[in-house]
């Protein structure tokens, strides 16, 4: 559906930004509602299965509450446009899937380097290449972390339900603004196309973390777009606010000016990584069930976690000492918690079911010499609870 920009205020009846109440809602739509509730100003996107419902829903809703929806000519343009809008102060957003996500990679690095907050939903489908456009995959998780060239930090949330699509999208906008980073919502086709009950709270109960702005008026002194506070995140000034900022993807000094030398580069890139790495304790989210005495821990995320939860509950009923760790943030990876679980001394092995050929298993293996059992599918279908249960019993 090609919907162009509709001018502000053309619709007489009031449209609520936050649709408070209980709904039976598609995961994609819940993500869109989360973005709207979080204060979305600008959406630039390009249709791609299985994320298109996010764009369609925002195309209907956003212009009626004073925001702008633009269907761009491709994903290269979509990501560039939302970064530009962010530079002008917008809470900006796009939604895509694997092929489009690949096209966005270069400018994801630009957003990381310019430290312009953007939120990107990637509804994962079976890949590589065009793959299975309408069927599930979870194989973009390493791409989300490492896809653009160079070292930089990002945050990625991985919802397992439509309710989490709503909640984590709000969290994604807040985290993007708090840390001045690109933030991903790594959904998958199953979660995006699943309808479940979604509770949307009252508008005043939606958490909002604003960007840190300049602490002096324009012209009083030179504003430094890249002078970090103790949290390693610099305050930000936007286009049109009078601070005469300069931002570039080149290595730059605190003023934002190109500084093409090794010491500046080393300092800058380390900070881009450290501002996420060293704040991980405040960012990382996970759900844990029955890990206290567990000798087997199933680690899972997204749609696969739904099967895993079921399998772990069944295993417990059978008397097996099995626990469950569900990753809500995939990046930063909950390294600390996994090491703590290992240090408890009960754990003999991990099981990592995922709809890819072992991307998160590799992360877990990096942390332990204990066996990490795999349960992989390349995509098109997700593991059933019985598949995971069989492995727990083994």
């Amino acid at each position: 559906m090609a919907v162009s920009v509709i001018n502000k205020g053309t619709k007489p009846e009031p449209e609520p930004r936050v649709r408070t109440g209980g709904h039976f809602m598609l995961g994609d739509h819940a993500c869109a509602e989360g973005a709207l509730a979080a204060g979305l100003d600008f959406f630039g996107g390009y249709p791609i299965t299985p994320s298109t419902e996010i764009a369609e829903h925002i195309a209907v809703r956003l212009p009626l509450i004073g925001g702008r929806f633009v269907q761009m000519e491709d994903e290269l343009a979509s990501i560039a446009a939302i970064i530009g809008a962010s530079a002008a102060g917008a809470r900006s957003f796009t939604a895509t899937s694997g092929p489009g996500f690949s096209l966005m990679m270069e400018n994801i690095g630009l957003a990381a380097m310019m430290e312009l907050p953007v939120v990107i939903a990637d509804v994962m489908r079976a890949s590589p290449s065009t793959g299975l456009p309408t069927m599930v995959g979870q194989s973009d998780v390493l791409q989300a972390r490492w896809g653009s060239h160079g070292d930089y930090g990002i945050i990625a949330y991985c919802p397992s339900s439509p309710q989490e699509c709503f909640d984590l999208t709000i969290r994604a906008f807040n985290a993007a603004d708090q840390y001045r980073v690109p933030v991903f919502i790594l959904m998958d086709e199953v979660v995006g196309h699943m309808a479940e009950r979604v509770i949307i709270p009252a508008a005043e109960d939606i958490p909002h973390t604003p960007r840190k702005g300049p602490r002096h008026k324009p012209g009083e002194e030179i504003f430094l777009s890249y002078a970090p506070d103790a949290d390693m995140v610099p305050p930000i000034a936007h286009a049109g606010e009078g601070y005469k900022v300069h931002m570039t993807g080149l290595t730059h000094d605190e003023r934002g000016y190109p500084a093409l030398n090794a010491p500046t580069h080393n300092k800058l890139v380390n900070r881009l990584v450290d501002k996420i790495r060293l704040n991980a304790a405040d960012i990382v989210m996970y759900e844990e069930i029955a890990t206290e005495d567990a000798d087997t821990i199933v680690i899972s995320f997204g749609c696969t976690a739904r099967s895993a939860r079921h399998a772990v509950a069944e295993a417990r009923r059978e008397g097996l000492k099995c626990g469950f760790l569900r990753l809500i943030t995939i990046w930063p990876f909950p390294e600390k918690r996994i090491r703590e679980l290992i240090d408890q001394g009960n754990v003999k092995r991990f099981i990592v079911p995922e709809v890819n050929l072992g991307q998160i298993r590799r992360e877990v293996e990096r942390m332990t010499s204990l066996p990490v059992l795999r349960l992989n599918h390349a995509g098109g279908e997700m593991p059933a609870p019985k598949d995971i249960l069989e492995l727990i019993r083994s």
């Binding site: 162009s4 920009v5 001018n7 100003d41 939302i82 530009g84 102060g89 400018n107 606010e241 000016y257």
Partner: protein, 276 residues
């Protein structure tokens, strides 16, 4: 007291557009004889003449020598990625329509890697002022040919001469919907400045091609000795034809001395802007 101190009075050191340039970034990276400085100068003068506060002006560029323009103008400025200046600028212009957003970038950036964004921004009639500095080659990377290189002109990736038909940029811009289209050269300082000012005052997509010498990369490979030599070519062969209707016939062939180079303000129409 030295001779220098006697001659330079403090008041005389303040140029009228000093506050519009980031003098703290000088010396700049541009080569002797390069035309990009003249373009930046014209843009700065147009800002001063626009009557809008400089806080309302924004400059966005892509990658390349021309892409460095954004780094030298003292307004909110963004040096984006190769080819993506236009969608980046669209994001700014759509979120804050009160800002006057100018994209300054090169022919390779805007018409090769960024060509798709150019035709779609023109089609949408987004309120952007595009200054496309055409020096007929990729200068920063050392003189490779591109979609504006005249047939027969040499570049490091076409050592026996370019064989592809180049773009006729004003024709392309008009055909894809630009509301204001002009072509000037860095010789036409006043006319160029006036065209930029008209673009700033136009609510819609404006496209200005400005020919600029690149003596280091293009000139050296094509027997155009220095910047002055190329400007001399402009002087000898440019024909001003404002409002020219036959844009499809106005290809540029910098190499063929028998062909005129038609410049002017070609298109100025009212079309429904992207945001009213």
């Amino acid at each position: 007291m030295s001779a220098t101190e006697q001659i330079i009075h403090p008041a005389a050191t303040v140029h009228p557009i000093d506050n519009l340039l980031r003098a703290d970034r000088f010396p700049h990276i541009l080569c002797p004889g390069c035309g990009i400085g003249t373009v930046i100068h014209g843009y700065a003068h147009a800002i001063a003449a626009s009557g809008l506060s400089e806080d309302r002006h924004v400059c966005v560029s892509g990658i390349g020598c021309s892409g460095r323009a954004a780094g030298y103008v003292n307004v909110d400025s963004y040096h984006s990625t190769h080819g993506r200046a236009l969608p980046f600028a669209l994001g700014i212009a759509v979120h804050k329509p009160e800002l006057n957003v100018t994209v300054i970038s090169g022919d390779g950036d805007l018409t090769a890697i960024g060509g798709n964004h150019l035709i779609h921004a023109a089609r949408r009639n987004v309120n952007l002022n595009v200054i496309c500095i055409n020096n007929f080659n990729y200068g920063m990377t050392g003189g490779q040919v591109g979609p504006t290189t005249p047939v027969g002109a040499k570049g490091s990736t076409a050592p026996r001469g370019a064989v592809e038909q180049p773009f006729n940029l004003p024709y392309l811009a008009k055909a894809t919907g630009a509301a204001f289209v002009a072509r000037w050269t860095v010789l036409h300082v006043r006319e160029f400045q006036d065209a930029v000012l008209r673009a700033m005052n136009k609510n819609g997509f404006s496209f200005i091609e400005v020919l600029a010498p690149c003596p280091t990369s293009f000139g050296r490979a094509n027997n155009i000795g220095d910047g002055l030599h190329e400007v001399e070519i402009y002087r000898e062969r440019c024909v001003i034809e404002n409002g020219a209707q036959n844009l499809e016939e106005l290809d540029i062939d910098l190499i063929d001395a028998s062909k005129p180079i038609t410049v002017g303000n070609f298109v100025d129409i009212d079309r429904k802007p992207f945001i009213e």
